[in-house]
């Protein structure tokens, strides 16, 4: 596969160096094309897209209230349907706070109605735009400003993919910027399908996860190889694992990120357990519903 050459997103955006979410949008828009309308709630992308008068995404953007992404996208789609414009993709683009937490109700509503939108969660595993507070997507053991050591997060992150899968929607996929062709293929597939689509992207965050900004792709890859982040799809209820983890040593993934520097040993073990359990569940599902 050749990655489309055309750059829709502009290069002078306001993301931090090494931002996974900026790279993810760049690739997503390459896959979707210019006929895309994006809805962005409160999140890092509120800033990345530029201040008043700017629009670095290069496609129409509606900045909206934190909890409203999926509902606003559904509304846009409804009018486009009435106008007979069926060649435009409507994409919600929210962080983990706006998805796992405050926006989950609207997301569930749109998924249950099967509104014809692509909902993307770029997941940097905490409230990064407000300065690194824990969200329900923060993994066990991670330090944030609201879970400072020694009270690091002690609960596993919500399983967003499976929550949305319970709504019986046509397409759900996970992706990372370390596998750009896989990511682009998934956006193209989402675009081609009618109804509600979810794409969950792991989005490493240099200032939030505390790693050098040239390690974003490497960390994305390690997340997949260690089994921290599972690359799979659920298409019309059928599970497909896109990349079987090598189950590399988890410490390799943790030690490269400052947010796990103070993670106690038992938390590391708990994280390993959680990874193992999720993989076993997924294997069973892929075997029975593949």
């Amino acid at each position: 596969m050749i990655i489309p050459k055309e750059e829709i997103m502009k290069s002078n955006h306001l993301a931090c160096p090494g931002c996974g979410a900026a790279l993810a949008m760049r690739l997503a828009l390459k896959a979707l094309g210019k006929k895309t309308i994006v809805v962005i709630p409160a999140c890092c992308w509120t800033i990345i897209n530029g201040t008043w008068g700017n629009n670095f995404a290069g496609v129409p953007v509606f900045h909206t209230a934190f909890a409203t992404t999926a509902a606003v996208a559904a509304g846009i789609r409804a009018t486009l349907e009435m106008q007979g414009k069926d060649d435009i993709t409507v994409m919600g683009w929210a962080g983990d706070g706006g998805t796992f937490d405050i926006g989950l109700q609207a997301l569930s509503g749109a998924a249950e109605r099967n509104d014809d939108i692509i909902y993307v969660c770029y997941d940097n595993e905490a409230y990064m735009n407000t300065g690194i507070q824990r969200s329900s997507a923060t993994p066990i053991g991670a330090e944030t400003t609201t879970t400072p050591s020694p009270i690091v997060k002690d609960r596993p992150k919500k399983d967003l993919m499976e929550i949305v899968a319970a709504h019986d929607v046509p397409y759900i996929a996970s992706a990372t910027v370390a596998y750009p062709t896989d990511l682009i293929k998934k956006f193209q597939k989402a675009k081609s399908k009618k109804g509600f689509k979810l794409i969950h992207i792991l989005s490493p965050c240099p200032p939030g996860h505390k790693f050098p900004e040239n390690k974003t792709v490497e960390i994305s890859k390690l997340a997949v190889e260690t089994g921290v982040f599972l690359l799979y799809e659920i298409e019309d209820g059928k599970y497909r694992i896109n990349k079987k983890p090598k189950f590399k040593d988890l410490d390799e993934y943790l030690d490269i990120q400052g947010r796990f520097r103070n993670t106690p040993k038992e938390q590391r073990e708990a994280l390993k357990e959680a990874i193992k359990k999720r993989w076993e569940y997924l294997l069973v599902k892929a075997e029975h519903f593949g």
Binding site: K34, K35, T36, I37, V39, T46, I47, N49, G50, T51, W52, G53, N54, N55, A57, G58, V59, P60, V61, F62, H63, T64, A65, A67, T68, A70, A71, V72, A73, A74, G75, I76, R77, A78, T79, L80, E81, M82, Q83, I88, Q105, A106, S108, G109, E112, R113, D115
Partner: protein, 378 residues
């Protein structure tokens, strides 16, 4: 034209059906629900061609309405009380983004304790969200104001809320004149403009530093303020079709009145009777009904109060620790000191014409000099 016997909710649903609405997004709540049920039945029967998004909350109802409006659709929603309060954040957003959404609100008291009955504290506490607000006193007004609202919202690029007292207006069945094709030339004019166009990619609502934020807000204030003049223009057109006239302030009764009764919503219907009774008793009196509460019709009120000796404002609402909200607005805007505020009818408590007559007489006789809460007990 034909006459049907309708409650305010049904009248609103009929107006929505005739208004070429593209998208409805709504969530049920008493006493609004029969509006959206009626709309659903119009869509089911094929009499209305709109997309109805059955959202999972009022917060999403307004959010979906925003998306639909930003894409250039004509959009309607309806709510009440707790639902309206749940929308609060998104109400600001819709107005700030200049989206011409029209919403009906069934005025209902706010819990606790739970109440489903009439009170205007719900919508008046949304005073500062940047929405144009109308208060209908009966089914015909609700019907007519809906048409005017779609046109006004799109003309000035600002959302409009049409309020009706729960049950008293929403459910009281009255004869309503329903348009046939004669409304078509008025309501088929759509001045919606899509903000989201793939050929001209813009970002709506991006982060603004103070030097950008202030001008945007000044513009928004000008936009909603222009609704007073634009309403008059549209009202002139509407009057030619319907022979019914709507102004921001409605006046009934004697010039140079000894006592002016100010009311909004269903209280104004009662005040009509009170004014008749007072005039019969030889007390020159007048009703001043606030039809449009935002933008605030200051000049119209100054004119309506000309020659008034005393002014009694009946508020079916309360700002805790202060008193009646419209009384406060009037005094604040006009700087007059011959006004007495009467908070009444909270949570659907009855307010009768005899209550109003007694209060008016007591004010004129000097027995009531301060703001008061009208409550005779159970």
């Amino acid at each position: 034209m034909k006459r049907l016997v309708l409650g305010g909710n049904d009248a609103v649903a009929y107006a929505v059906k005739q208004s070429h609405v593209d998208v409805v997004s709504a969530y049920p709540i008493t006493p609004q629900t029969s509006i959206i049920e009626k709309i659903a039945s119009f869509i089911a029967s094929g009499d209305m061609k709109a997309r109805f998004i059955k959202v999972e909350s009022e917060h999403s109802a307004m959010a979906a309405a925003m998306g639909a409006s930003a894409a250039g659709g004509r959009v309607f929603t309806a709510t009440s009380s707790q639902g309206l309060l749940y929308m609060h954040e998104v109400l600001h957003w819709a107005a700030g983004a200049s989206l011409p959404i029209v919403m009906a609100n069934a005025n209902r008291a706010v819990a606790p304790p739970w109440s489903i009955w009439a009170e205007q504290t719900d919508s008046l506490s949304q005073r500062d969200t940047g929405w144009i607000q109308f208060y209908a006193s009966n089914s015909q007004e609700a019907y007519d104001i809906l048409f005017l609202s779609f046109r006004l919202a799109e003309r000035v690029k600002n959302p409009v809320m049409v309020c009706m007292d729960g049950f008293l207006v929403t459910h009281t069945k009255e004869p309503v004149v329903i348009f046939g094709d004669e409304i078509e030339e008025f309501i088929s004019v759509k001045e919606t403009t899509p903000l989201l166009e793939v050929d001209r990619p813009k970002a709506i609502g991006a982060l603004a530093f103070p030097q950008d934020y202030m001008p945007v807000k000044i513009e928004q204030h000008k936009r909603i303020s222009s609704a007073l003049a634009e309403f008059k223009t549209l009202s002139d057109q509407f009057e030619k079709i319907s022979s019914r006239r709507y102004d921001p302030v409605y006046v009934y009764g004697e010039e140079n009145a000894d006592i002016v009764i100010v009311a909004m919503g269903s209280n104004a219907e009662t005040a009509h009777l009170a004014v008749d009774l007072l005039n019969r008793d030889g007390i020159k009196s007048k009703l001043v009904k606030i039809v449009m509460f935002r933008p605030f019709p200051k000049d119209e009120l100054i004119k309506a109060f000309e020659g008034a000796e005393k002014i009694a404002v009946f508020d079916r609402n309360i700002s805790m620790g202060k008193g009646g909200i419209t009384k406060d607005e009037i005094v604040g805007a006009l700087g007059i000191n011959n006004v007495v505020g009467i908070v009444c009818g909270l949570g659907g408590a009855d307010v009768t014409e005899n209550d109003m007559v007694k209060v008016a007489k007591d004010i004129l006789e000097g027995k009531i000099q301060e703001d008061m809460i009208l409550w005779g007990g159970r």
